[in-house]
């Protein structure tokens, strides 16, 4: 169920330069699953469109969002104070189907600002006793959320500058640590997702990847955020699935990226 409602900011903190942690009290949590996102509406009316932000964690009281400042909207969010009210719509998108991951060895891969949504997924998998290892890729030693992941599994880290963990990206960390998986779940920049798609095909394993695209409505009406699919999409029948509705999680075999 999707709802459009006001939430109350619990806390805002900076996790690393430009990366912010926003906790909101909201009953959207009751309907949320890992991998979904929420539209957050900026108050500044010159920035009209809501911002799609992935759910980092589903908490006792609401939702936690970890985002990077990318423009005016997210800059506004970073300045919120506890007690502020904000308008949210969601939860949106398909999210992960945990049942498909039962009994499997799962790698959760997050690259950069793709790290946050992997937290709730890793947590949910662990609570179902699913064998999961998180592999997180960062630019440099200013890690964020690693401590949160460490609560649930032995986290593997890669940094582009080699300052912590494997030098390189998540794929380099998989190779260096000889990690094997039945299923990969990943969120990160497009080059990373393309590498994961190729790796999954080579290893003949399933990879669920979370796609990002510029959105307007977030609910499947405007057809702004489509991804090329290998199968006919059920909405327009033109091999263009809506990232906000049929996605953001896709089987990598089913998208042409």
């Amino acid at each position: 169920m999707k709802i459009c409602k006001t939430g109350i900011v619990e806390s805002v903190s900076m996790l690393s330069p430009m990366i912010y942690d926003l906790a909101v009290t909201t009953n959207l949590k009751d309907y949320a699953v890992p991998g979904q996102f929420v539209m957050i509406y900026p108050k500044d009316k010159s920035t009209l469109l809501p911002r799609p932000i992935s759910i980092c964690e589903i908490t006792e009281t609401g939702l936690r969002f970890v985002f990077r400042i990318a423009g005016k909207g997210t800059a506004e969010f970073s300045g919120y104070k506890a007690g502020d009210s904000i308008k949210l719509m969601g939860p949106l998108g398909n999210g992960y189907d945990i049942n498909l991951l039962k009994g499997k060895k799962v790698l959760t891969l997050g690259g950069g600002i793709g790290v946050p949504p992997m937290l709730e997924l890793t947590k949910a998998l662990k609570s179902q006793n699913i064998d999961v290892t998180a592999v997180l890729g960062y630019r440099d030693s200013s890690l964020f959320l690693k401590d949160d992941f460490d609560k649930y599994n032995d986290t593997v880290v890669a940094t582009e500058d080699g300052s912590i963990g494997t030098k390189g990206n998540v794929m380099d960390a998989i190779a260096a640590n000889n990690l094997k998986a039945d299923v990969i779940c990943a969120c990160g920049p497009m080059p990373m997702l393309r590498a994961i798609k190729a790796y999954a095909e080579k290893e003949n394993i399933t990879a669920f990847i979370s796609l990002e695209e510029r959105m307007a409505c977030g609910v499947g009406a405007c057809l702004g955020c489509v991804a090329k699919t290998t199968k006919e999409d059920h909405h327009s029948h033109v091999n263009n699935a809506r990232v906000c509705t049929e996605g953001p999680i896709f089987d990598s075999k089913e998208v042409d990226i």
Binding site: C4, S46, G218, A221, V226, S236, T245
Partner: protein, 299 residues
């Protein structure tokens, strides 16, 4: 108190509809708003066959509005008739089907296919700025507009609304051309062609380079064009372009619109349509207006 309006013999319980392309066929917004409360639902444009639309990025925000270059992605008229019309028929609202095409023949194929379908009106999209063929090519030349309107009127079983482009020198001439060719109503404005450049990457933001601008920033342009068009013709006008509140809707009606459509504001607040419907009633109560038709073109 009367909120009903009539266009070409079709009575709408209130003057509020949706702007084509911003509301799908209502399915996606049915979770947020009671579709029964709307005067009409105007659907996303539908063509004779499925169209894949443009590459992404298709949308971007601009100051006070947005640009889109979706490129009329749609499933084609057959899927539309099987899926969308039965969905819409469940609700107590009128159905306006937006029709698009690359050639006159393609428009006619859709109009013909809809002849015996339970839809109330047709809105002909001769104003989409985001497709290379058809659409706006028919809406920027008075002769071409007159020709396509005449041909559609010959085939259509439902009243025909011609949706006009603001990307013209004199909107009154286009309105007159539509009326002369037999259009039952006109709607305006479609989006205003715009462009945004990513200065860090030195690239166009939209894959299509240009996109149609919508949102509150275009409202004054739209109000002016609705005023000019409605004073040039005797057929009813459906006004749109940046409507985000009941006050905006009333402004369009005072400029000459019999009906109004909510577009990009659906993205800014999914409940906008209902807030406009309720807000119009409140305005009427507050100002002692007995019949909404009193204010149409009152300035």
């Amino acid at each position: 108190m009367n909120t009903a309006v009539k266009i070409a013999g079709v009575e709408f319980k209130n003057p509020v509809t949706t702007a084509s392309g911003t509301f799908g066929s209502g399915m996606e917004y049915g979770e947020f708003v009671d579709l029964n409360k709307l005067g009409a639902i105007t659907t996303k444009g539908v063509a004779s066959v499925a169209w894949p639309g443009n590459p992404t990025p298709r949308v971007t925000e601009v100051y006070g509005g947005m640009l889109n270059a979706i490129g009329l992605q749609n499933p084609g008229i057959e899927v539309f008739c099987e899926r969308d019309i039965p969905f819409l028929k469940q609700y107590d609202t009128k159905i306006i089907v937006n029709v698009c095409g690359k050639t006159v023949e393609e428009y006619l194929a859709v109009v013909e296919r809809l002849q015996n379908e339970p839809v109330d009106m047709l809105e002909i999209n001769v104003s989409c700025p985001n497709v290379k063929e058809g659409a706006i090519a028919f809406g920027q030349d008075a002769k071409a507009l007159e020709n396509i309107t005449k041909q559609i009127k010959k085939v259509a079983k439902q009243p025909v609304i011609m949706k006009l482009s603001p990307n013209v020198t004199r909107i009154a001439d286009m309105a007159k051309a539509a009326e002369a060719a037999g259009a039952d109503a006109i709607s305006l404005i479609n989006t205003i062609t715009g462009m945004k450049i990513d200065i860090k990457r030195r690239k166009f933001v939209l894959a299509n380079k240009t996109g149609g601008m919508s949102g509150p920033a275009i409202k004054p342009v739209a109000v002016r064009m609705v005023y000019e068009a409605s004073h040039a013709v005797n057929i009813p006008v459906i006004g749109m372009g940046g409507i985000a509140s009941a006050e905006d809707a009333i402004e369009f009606m005072m400029a000459g619109a019999t009906m109004v459509a909510v577009g990009a504001a659906n993205f800014i607040n999914p409940n906008t349509t209902i807030e406009v419907v309720d807000g119009i009633t409140e305005f009427m109560l507050r100002h002692g207006i007995q019949d909404i038709n009193e204010i149409v073109g009152c300035v």
